[in-house]
Amino acid sequence: MTNFNIILFLCGWGPHAAYQTLQDNGSDIPPEIKMVRIPCTGRISKALLFKPFEMGADGVVLAGCEPGSCRYGTGTNTALNNVEDTRGILDLLGLGEDRLRLVTFLPDEPEALLEFLTDFVSEIKGIGKSPVVPPHKKTPLVGVDDLIKQTVVAYDVYTCLDCGKCTSACPLTLAGKPFSPRAIASTIISGNIDSPSVQNDIWACLTCGLCYERCPSAVNFPEFIRDIRHILKKSGSNGHAAHGGFFQSLMRTMTSPDLKIKHWEWLPEEIRTDDKSKTLFFGGCAPYFDIFFRNHLGVKTRKILVDSLRLLNFFDIRPAVLDDERCCGHDLLWSGDKENFLKLARLNVDAIHRMGVQEIIIGCPEGYRTFVHDYPEHGIECNFKVTHIFELLEREIDKGAVGFKKFNRKLTFQDPCRMSRFENCADLPRKLINRLNLKGFTEMQDRETGAICCGNCAWIGCDSFSKAMQVKRIGQVHDTESDLLVTACPKCQIHLQCAMEDPFLGEELDTKMMDLTSVLAKTIQWE
């Protein structure tokens, strides 16, 4: 037996016939190859292509039909895009794009197929074993009811007055979804965690925190939901992940300590960083988003990181960056996987401590919240100061001699939940916006701590109601008669952009978006 594992996704039409010929002839198919027969390469999403790597596979082959010979017409083209994107992600992760390959074979090419498989196996052996640690088998959770009860007590959900302020504020409810925080609370209190509506609704909550903001009894509903999710996840709930669970899969893969992640290799040359600096810039997952959404949304959230670094350079700050920076774990924590969240947190914090850094600067609101709040709360000590980039910019700009070029746009601002509501920092971006030299700035109807979420959180529970909510939010943008929607979180850009892709409403919703960091970097100047 061999200890290498290579997954072959084999299309049932063209290449499978060739493979069958090999089997019939008793050919020497390398034993490392584990074949999975599939209906069409186009059906293998990025999540499915990536899943084997999370499970510890050393290589993956997607074998299909040549373009033009696809039984379903567009399968091969879809596969091309999916494979290209997944290869990009593998590269960033340091696994290397060569571990994933898309090939096409006709039914009468068994020899070519065999030759390819043999070559690929030796190539993978040359690259070596995958450093990914496969997840261990989960042991089923016992005493779920007791754990639920403890969580109810911990968040004192009993103080719920059943007044319904939460439901009347919940953006999902207002978008028409049959969803009610107080109903979830009372069902769980009465011991009916297994009720189908609760089992679904737990994963639909945006954890945006608007209900907590309004709750007269101060029941921290988002964190309550978060902890209930951990229990349900451990007891086998599937978690309603969006994008086929790709992002959760990616984050879990990052928990392998031996990965040689290449988070910053793409950074433009003019950006000046310094490994010995006592200040570190923690970027966040934007590079992965840009690859994943390359064809669908065309978002460019990586630009936010570049612009953040350009702004730091502008003030002669040359920060260090963490080459093997991992996801902060925010989305795992909020989608019910505390175990892997803790692994990511430890890996990140240990790596930062090893660099001897005194202060880290974060641009992503979720990352900021996670570092300042969730790490300490979960017992992960950080011996460094955490500063949001807006804090630092405000401090530096306030020293004076800095001005802003005329920016001929009318702006409005989408608050990120994690900053404006959770960390109560709604004034921070506004101070900066007020410094800009603009044509105008108009607030949306719902703003600051009362702002509406961009439509999704932690890559779970996305549905038509999320969309309805986003459409409503973009309507509020248009009501301000602004011509630029300024955001402060890469996720806000991704989710609102997704709403704008609607084939029926698309043009009506079309709105220009820009991150506040980019607006600042574009217009800032020494006076």
Binding site: D307, R310, L311, N313, F314, D316, K399, G400, A401, V402, K405, L520, A521, K522, I524, Q525, W526, E527
Partner: protein, 196 residues
């Protein structure tokens, strides 16, 4: 600007009576003498100034004993009022440094570079317009380096009324940070990189 040791520097601070012009001069002199262990003299103008007219403080800084304390042609001129500016601008040496309050002084009739800081406005934002002179001292320290930062900050702490140390230190730092930012901005502009 580089450290200007072994050179005699003549400084005139001018403004309205009540702006703390004389106090600024005294703090500067004390910083130089007590902190930097150099020589300094102060001549203050008496008279109707104390009722709100033009007012000035003449400060000399030197490594050698100072024989004559009156300033004829200042190396550094700090103006916190228009009348002070009009009165002294002709006396400033051609290569001298001019520092003005951005909002209170319009530098008319000259063709030279100068430094300006909205120190009165900054002091107002910090809560006490009286601290404009301290903001200006911070700015002066950053721009001219005629006195060391440490000495200037200590001298401010020694001279201000008890209980206002914190706000005055904030005012001094505000001016100093602004000065450093202005210098950095000029340096960046000179290399043609004004933007991010």
């Amino acid at each position: 600007m580089t450290e200007q040791k072994d050179i005699k520097q003549e400084i005139v601070i001018t403004g309205f009576g009540g702006q703390g012009i004389v106090l600024a001069g005294r703090i500067l002199g004390e910083a130089v003498v007590l902190g930097d262990h150099r020589q300094s003299t102060l001549v203050q103008s008496y008279g109707p100034e104390a009722r709100g007219g033009a007012c000035s403080a003449e400060v000399m800084i030197s490594d050698e004993p100072i024989q004559y304390p009156y300033v004829r042609h200042p190396d550094i001129l700090i103006c916190m009022s228009q009348s002070g500016y009009d009165k002294f601008i002709e006396q400033l040496k051609p290569e001298g440094t001019l520092i003005i309050d951005h909002d209170l002084v319009k530098p008319r009739g000259i063709d030279r570079t100068f430094f300006s800081i909205p120190c009165t406005r900054m002091a107002e934002e910090l809560g006490r317009v009286m601290m404009a002179n301290i903001v200006m001292l911070g700015f002066f320290t950053a721009i001219t380096k005629a006195v060391s930062l440490e000495s200037a900050r200590n001298a401010v702490l020694e001279s201000v009324p008890k209980g206002t140390e914190e706000t005055n230190t904030a005012a001094f730092n505000k001016g100093h940070d602004y000065g450093l930012a202005v210098l950095k901005g000029r340096e960046k502009k000179a290399t043609g990189k004004a933007g991010a």
